[in-house]
């Protein structure tokens, strides 16, 4: 199966082509949905087969490169459509195709009756195609192709309902914002790629990373390379300062938010950093930057999440916050812990989004949690699965989130410092609090919606995916039980990925000087804290709702600051967007473009047109003249060779 890995890329492409070209004629939703989900399902089975095949092989044979064809081979640049099957790419491929398949199936129910049904599935398949290129690529160029491809699909899907309003503007504006902010990050990523090519003379992962082990390259070069790459990651994975696009990306249909803006695409930055772990490990100062940016993002996004009232907005900030955790893990050198969190987060966050979608579906597009309440009675399956996901993200044992989050917190303490751990735990407590605020306001308590709404449970095609993801959210963490509990076997997930990160680990040289007692102590503290947060949320939002509004009015300043998301959008608008638009409009457009560039271009064009019309007259149609011109040409050539001899 490993040799067939290219099919996991080509099948979604085939699905995109079929639905994209014939979709408008097929019309039958069942056929379109089956094709769209089917190709992803088969891809998942292939990835699964490849995974078990790899698992059976000895460690040193686990990497395989499948070359489809050479794309470019000129001037020292060799770029192939080659897919790399190894421990890391397999984990990612399983997440993308597995969670992707479940979300595709869910979409059949969610998008039922939409006039762009076929377009939706075509875009989703195109997204999976691009994403598989990104994670299976064996070189930076192919990775970048996927990187840009997922950005394009994200743009297309955020603006999918292009005729709908979103907040103060339209969904197209949200799509454009996502695209433009991502371009800033992509620019950094490109610079990083150029610098890698200049330094190592190759863009192939294996070559670059093996040269990074042997070449003596100055630390500052590594610093710049990794800084540029990390800027790319902050764009794609919504980190400070480029996170602003993700909350707006919620303008897209909810399955899109689940698939692209929670489970897969936004983790591409984390994957890329993990893939380049050797480079990052060679630049310790940038590792610190990564850790601090990740932690700050986690903390600030969580504070914003506490006060938001839009169900998808809360989840969006939660996603940003959880991505921050993953970067914290990368920054402290706990690469496999970060990837572990990518996986568990894909399960429970996709589940949260799909659950939210189910609620929104039932409540006729109402997204304000203040107008929900008591929905558990009407939609028990959605409520229970949502509760499981909320427990998982809060880090309650033995659900999946507990294992991955506590591993990150532990490494941030043992490889980093007490401060990193403390802020991390505070963020975790806030996470538990706002997730259960969301849960209680939505599913428990009094019904706060009008009589015009008739909430109902979603159809099976939507609830079964919820149940599957709920099961995964519960058991998904068992593959990575920490050494403290599992004893001599160690952490299975960590062992599986260890060969990928061994070079980076060697460079970082972290010694485990901490005792198991410390680890268990920290774990107990965070679990007790999270449980307390949940009970606090229950007390405030279920028993004494007036506390919430009283606190909000007492700390009006802080509340306003959080409610308005620290005014970051407004600041960006005033400092960057407005001046750029001003300069573009008044200087670049009216003077530089209209006068200078257009003037020159039009002038040259005019000149060439006149020249063209003049020369044209020579073409009279008289054959004798043609012969004469030839003779003149020959005479000139002969004269030249005789004279130059």
């Amino acid at each position: 199966m490993r040799e067939l890995i290219y099919l996991t890329v080509l099948l979604p492409l085939a699905g995109f082509l079929i639905n994209g070209i014939f979709g408008s004629r097929i019309k039958n939703e069942k056929v379109i949905g089956t094709i769209g989900s089917g190709v992803i399902g088969i891809s998942f089975l292939i990835a699964l087969g490849a995974f078990f095949e790899t698992l059976a092989l000895p460690v040193e044979q686990r990497q395989l490169i499948v070359t489809l064809f050479t794309w470019l081979d000129v001037g020292g640049l060799n770029v192939s459509f080659a897919y790399q099957v190894d421990q890391l790419s397999l984990v990612m491929a399983l997440i993308v195709t597995g969670v992707g398949f479940v979300i595709h199936v869910y979409s059949i129910g969610y998008m039922h009756g939409d006039k762009g049904f076929w377009r939706f599935f075509a875009y989703l398949n195109l997204f999976i195609f691009a994403m598989m290129n990104l994670i299976l690529a064996d070189n930076f160029v192919l990775l970048f192709l996927g990187w840009e491809g997922v950005g394009l699909c994200s743009y297309l899907l955020i603006g999918f309902w292009y005729d709908r309003k979103f907040e103060k503007s339209t969904t197209s504006d949200a799509a454009k914002k996502a695209f433009i902010v991502n371009r800033i990050g992509d620019f950094g990523f490109l610079l990083g790629m150029f610098l890698i090519f200049l330094t190592f003379g190759s863009l192939n992962f294996n070559e670059v990373f093996s040269k990074a082990n042997t070449f003596s390259v100055s630390a500052s070069i590594y610093g710049f390379i990794t800084l540029f790459l990390f800027i790319g990651a902050t764009g794609k994975s919504a980190q400070i300062p480029l996170y602003v696009w993700l909350p707006d990306a919620m303008a897209g249909p909810t399955p899109v938010s689940a698939l692209i803006h929670a489970a897969t695409m936004v983790t591409a930055g984390v994957y890329m950093v993990a893939r380049c772990s050797v480079l990052f490990a060679s630049a310790p100062q940038i590792m610190t930057v990564v850790a601090i940016i990740g932690l700050m993002t986690a903390f600030f996004a969580a504070t914003i999440g506490i006060v938001q009232n839009d169900i998808k907005k809360v989840l969006a900030y939660s996603t940003i916050s959880q991505l921050g955790y993953m970067f914290l893990a990368m920054g402290v050198g706990a690469f496999s812990a970060g990837i572990f969190h990518v996986m568990t987060h894909a399960f429970f966050k996709a589940l949260l989004f799909l659950g939210a979608g189910s609620v929104i579906h039932a409540m006729h597009e109402e997204q304000d949690i203040q107008r929900y309440g008591g929905l558990k009675k009407y939609m028990p399956q959605t409520a229970i699965t949502f509760l499981i996901a909320a427990l998982a993200i809060s880090g309650i044992p033995p659900l999946s989130g507990f294992f991955s989050k506590d591993e990150i917190l532990w490494y941030s303490f043992s490889n980093g410092s007490f401060i990193l751990w403390l802020v991390g735990v505070i963020t975790a407590l806030m996470t538990a609090f706002y997730m259960f605020r969301l849960y209680f306001l939505t599913f428990e308590g009094k019904e706060r919606f009008g009589h015009d709404k008739h909430p109902h449970e979603s159809p099976k095609v939507m609830t079964i995916p919820l149940i599957i993801l709920a099961v995964l959210s519960v058991i998904g963490g068992f593959v990575g039980i920490p050494e403290v509990f599992s004893g001599e076997h160690g952490n299975q997930f960590h062992n599986w990925l260890a060969p990928i990160f061994k070079d980076a680990d060697r460079k970082l040289m972290h010694f485990g000087l901490h005792s198991h007692f410390e680890e268990i102590l920290l774990m107990v503290i965070s679990v007790i804290g999270a449980s307390a947060s949940i009970l606090l949320a229950r007390y405030i939002y279920l028993k004494k709702p007036e506390i919430a509004s009283r606190t909000a009015s007492r700390f009006k300043g802080v509340y306003n600051l959080l409610w308005n998301k620290y005014f970051i959008d407004e600041i960006y608008d005033a400092v960057i967007v407005s001046p750029t638009v001003m300069i573009s409009k008044n200087v670049l457009w009216k003077i530089a473009d209209n006068r200078i560039i257009d003037g020159t271009v039009n002038g040259v064009a005019k000149l060439i047109e006149i020249l063209s019309a003049t020369i044209r007259k020579v073409q009279t149609g008289v054959a004798q003249l043609y012969a004469l011109v030839m003779v003149l040409g020959i005479a000139a050539a002969l004269l030249w060779i005789i004279l130059s001899f």
Binding site: F69, W71, A613, I615, Q619, Y626, G633, W640
Partner: protein, 475 residues
């Protein structure tokens, strides 16, 4: 003739076409309803010969008393010729019906011209080049005027013949001078004597005249004057063949006859001549194409400017340049055939719908044809990810490696100018409304031909290295 059976197998691509000609002639003589049969028969002949060539790239040998080379890159040329001709045959089926201009000799001449091209590409002797050239050219002269009911076609054929014969005269003159100084017409012998001959003015003049004669065939400035008139007057399908396989054959003749000189760097003496006509062709073609209002004339000038880009590869005189030319010829053949194919489908009876203005609003009336034509225009303009981009890219890279960076820069500038008239067609199709609704006859075979071309253009653009590495390994 043959020393062993293997040599016979090696020459099978030519033999298939030659037998095809004989069978076609016999059928044409005894049947009145040969039209349908002959078109499909010649397609079969071309495809059989072409794919046989492609699968026997390794059969390298020199056969028939050192007259003909087989295998290797020669077979890649065979494949380009035959596939182009097969595409033209597909296009011709409905085109000839539309004009009611089927004459028995049409498909036979198509086959003889391809045989001539193959003799040129495989030649190991100046006589063979000349023989092939004449077989091809005479077929072309007749094909240009095949629609003898039309005055324009006759005029086109006559002009082509007069000027073509004139140019051939110089080739013969060149061959005579080369023979006079080298005492041989065999490439092998000329090559071994080259070091002593390179200081001989008569020999160099011979090479120059030889090149000038072929400059006419490849439509390079200032020997290009026939091109717009002939392309306009000849049937669109035939013009497509002239501009693709015909041009490729002339380049193959230059490459096989001067191969050693080009790749050994000994051609430096001729480089100034090549550079000058290359620059003039590129700019002349691109600039004058802008003023054209007839699409066939526009494509004719585009063909002149493409000859200019191709000559850059000769001027670079290194193996990268030669490989680049072969790649470019393949890419150019398919994209230009696609463009001519669509022109031939849209063309109405009595040479209507050939003005650029008839393409207004085609995007809404004929979305498929418009999309395909846009694809070919993008490729001709050299915009990635289509084949045309990589053709130019490889040739410019070769020029830079040969320290002819200035030539590559001029090439890029000329490409920029050419974008104007290629994209103007796209703009006309998509951003203007049509004033009158022209009727377009359906042509399934023609559409198939255009589709094949489009697929090849995209494939060569997405995975160009597969062909280029093939060419390099068989050079």
């Amino acid at each position: 003739m043959y020393n062993n059976i293997q040599e016979f197998y090696n020459t099978l691509p030519l033999v298939i076409v030659a037998v095809g000609i004989l069978i076609s002639t016999v059928i044409e003589m005894y049947s009145n309803k040969s039209e349908n049969f002959l078109s499909w028969f010649s397609i079969l002949v071309f495809l059989a010969s072409g794919f046989y060539s492609l699968f026997t790239l390794d059969s390298r040998s020199v056969v028939l008393q050192n007259m003909l080379a087989t295998g290797g890159y020669v077979n890649i040329f065979y494949f380009i010729f035959t596939l182009s001709a097969a595409i033209v045959c597909f296009l011709s089926i409905d085109y000839l019906k539309k004009y009611d201009a089927y004459f028995g000799e049409y498909y036979i001449l198509m086959q003889t011209s391809v045989l001539g091209m193959m003799l040129m590409a495989g030649a190991k002797d100046l006589f063979m080049i000349f023989l092939g050239l004449e077989v091809m050219s005479v077929s072309f002269y007749v094909l240009a005027g095949i629609n003898r009911k039309r005055l324009t076609a006759t005029e086109s054929a006559l002009k082509y013949f007069l000027l073509g014969a004139f140019a051939t005269g110089f080739i013969v003159y060149g061959i005579a001078l080369i023979y006079g100084t080298a005492q041989s017409t065999s490439f092998e012998i000329i090559t071994t004597k080259f070091s002593e001959l390179s200081g001989n003015l008569l020999f160099l003049t011979g090479v120059l005249l030889f090149l000038i004669g072929f400059s006419f065939k490849i439509a390079a400035f200032p020997f290009h004057m026939w091109v717009p008139d002939v392309y306009q007057g000849a049937p669109s399908t035939v013009a497509g063949l002239f501009s693709t396989a015909g041009k490729a054959a002339a380049f193959s003749a230059i490459i096989v006859s001067l191969f050693v000189l080009f790749t050994s760097g000994a051609m430096k003496i001729i480089t100034p001549y090549l550079s000058v006509i290359s620059v003039l062709s590129m700019f002349f073609g691109s600039i004058v194409a802008i003023a054209q209002t007839n699409i066939k004339r526009m494509l004719a000038y585009s063909s002149i400017s493409h000859a200019g880009y191709l000559i850059i590869g000769l001027a670079a005189s290194n193996s990268e340049g030669i490989a680049g030319i072969i790649f470019y010829l393949a890419a150019y053949s398919f994209m230009n055939l696609g463009a001519f194919g669509i022109v031939s489908i849209i063309e109405g009876k009595e040479e209507t719908n050939l003005e650029l203005n008839s393409y207004r609003g085609l995007g809404t009336r004929q979305p498929l044809l418009a999309a395909l034509l846009s694809l070919f225009m993008f490729s001709l303009a050299g915009i990635p990810p289509f084949a045309g981009f990589f053709g130019k890219y490889y040739i410019f890279i070769a020029a830079i490696e040969a320290k002819l960076t200035w030539l590559a820069i001029l090439g890029v500038m000329s490409s920029v100018i050419s974008v104007y008239f290629y994209l103007r067609l796209v703009v006309l199709m998509y951003f203007y409304d049509s004033s009158d609704n022209i009727e377009i006859q359906k042509s399934n075979a023609g559409l198939l031909a255009v589709f094949i071309s489009a697929i090849l253009v995209v494939l060569l653009g997405v995975m160009p290295d597969s062909l280029l590495s093939l060419i390099i390994s068989y050079l």
